[in-house]
Amino acid sequence: MRVLLVEGITDVNLVRYIYSQIDEKFDFYDFVPPKRGNKSKVITFENKRNRNFKIINLKGQDNLLFTLQEILKPDEKNIQKIAIISDTDRDFEASKQSVLKAIEDSKIDKDKFSIFLTPNNKNLGNLETLLLSSLDKESISQLQCFQEYKKCLKEKIADIEKRAIDKHEVEAYIKFSQKPRNRNQAQFSFIDSNGDTGLWDLSKKEFKLIIEFVETIFK
């Protein structure tokens, strides 16, 4: 079994999107959520083409140790690889140490793990930072407008978090692209009912590291 643990549904869908581009036989919808809805603490997306591939939405990094101990540890013998994609947010080293501690505490063989810290394994940020870094902001009208708005937000709200602004900026980009029917949630911005939204260009160099990381798990 090869399992990829991510922090939220947008990460799940980015991974599904990357996966769908690895091989022409692969499809975004190969990974399916459980039929019973999403009230549970964490959610497993099982690959119907290859049942050994799984993505788990942790719904926040706080559920990492729980997932490792309760769900994966009993089946450790059957697990070849566990990959973790985690945000670095405000403190790169602290985020990394937090993931490493959960791995240590889980008592699962450390050699089975690989970690990717968004946006690029060295800078601070999260998935939205990575998504935004791939865009040519100068050529996207709504993002030019957003820069003024961002300045205003920072001036008026002293303790506003960069993460919140990034999320907002991604939403503005999606919303005014008019592509996925005016939806503004990042989770729906990769594939919609019409197929590929074309909002994100995986050939951009900013996606190279995360694509390579996903390929090591699911290729």
Partner: protein, 333 residues
């Protein structure tokens, strides 16, 4: 209660060790991986009486053969292949076939003391340092009255005779009303149930309302028959162990939740340890939901898997792991 078991060289198991078993143990895994074989191993153990000296019977082996459709003319061959080694709790048990010439002098002495005629073939049971033997004889083959069958539910539709026998135990224990309450959980239209002799055959008759009619068990669906069999078996095995192969067979998925609720209530009240096999996701999810609704946490799940060398090994989950995994949507079958 069986808390741990180690099975050596039985069917497909080279060395299978299970620990932290619970009151309800759900066994899953792919087809032909050994779910039923594991159930049989527990069943054989349970059939041995551990008193001052051990007492084991051939009947469980014969029941297993019967469940596996081994015909009467192949039964001796089946018994000649018996080689069963298992350690459960503190008991190291070894049961195997021996011809008279393979017996040790001590064993021959025991034979002389125990039986007043000569036999050629035996099933020998060793428990720690104790020995007990049963000759293989035509008298042993497919006995008419086999008590061990009253704790083992195989995967096929129950026959009328067995249902009536099981219900008789409920009558003897005076549990008819309790039984009826549980039965109504499956179908609230059931008014009453009683045995009936019809055309020289004993049957169970059920009176229904809405619409008002009376049916014998063979006229009912497989699910109702199965549910009756499960209820009767549980209620007649107070303080015992019950084994159910493919529990969901015949039961509609919408009734699995109520079935599990009834089972949880009975195993708690009657102090029963339960081993069941399943390969049905809905059944596992229904158990998960019923256990949460009833605040019952004495559940372990055992998934049998094969490693890269085709050796079968278990993935045992305690209750919190079982709930977390099933809730997350990960398939534990």
């Amino acid at each position: 209660m069986i808390e741990e078991i180690e099975i050596v060289d039985y069917k497909g198991f080279k060395n299978l060790k299970l620990e932290n078993l619970s009151q309800i143990n759900i066994i899953s895994g792919e087809n032909n991986i050994g779910k039923t074989a594991l159930l049989e191993a527990f069943f054989i153990y349970e059939s041995i009486s551990f008193g001052n000296s051990i007492l084991f019977r051939l009947n469980p082996f014969l029941s297993i053969a019967k469940n596996r459709d081994i015909t009467e003319n192949r039964i001796k061959k089946y018994l000649r292949d018996v080689d069963f080694s298992v350690t459960i709790n503190e008991f190291k048990i070894n049961i195997n076939y021996k011809s008279y010439f393979d017996l040790t002098d001590t064993e021959k002495k025991i034979i002389k003391q125990q039986f007043n005629r000569d036999y050629d073939e035996f099933i020998v049971c060793y428990v720690n340092d104790d020995i007990n033997m049963r000759p293989i004889d035509h008298m042993n083959v497919y006995p008419e009255d086999d008590n061990s069958e009253k704790s083992y539910i195989n995967s096929s539709k129950p026959i009328n005779k067995k249902l009536v026998e099981l219900y008789s135990t409920i009558q003897s224990k005076g549990l008819q009303l309790k039984f009826l309450t549980y039965l109504k959980l499956l179908d609230s239209d059931i008014e009453w149930i009683e045995p009936q002799l019809l055309d020289d055959e004993m049957l169970l008759r059920l009176n229904l309302n809405n619409p008002e009619r009376s049916l014998v068990s063979s006229e009912l669906g497989e699910g109702t028959n199965r549910y009756i069999e499960i209820l009767c078996t549980l209620l007649s095995n107070t303080n015992g162990t019950v084994f159910i192969d493919e529990i969901e067979n015949g039961i509609h998925y919408t009734k699995l939740y109520d079935t599990w609720k009834a089972i949880i209530e009975i195993v708690q009240q009657e102090n029963i340890q339960l081993f069941v096999t399943t390969h049905n996701l809905e059944s596992i999810e229904a158990l998960n939901e019923a256990s949460e609704a009833m605040n019952f946490d004495k559940i372990s799940s055992i998934k049998l898997q094969k490693d890269e060398n085709n050796v079968i090994y278990p993935v045992v989950r305690n209750y919190s792991s079982f709930v977390a995994t099933v809730d997350s949507g990960m398939d534990i079958r």
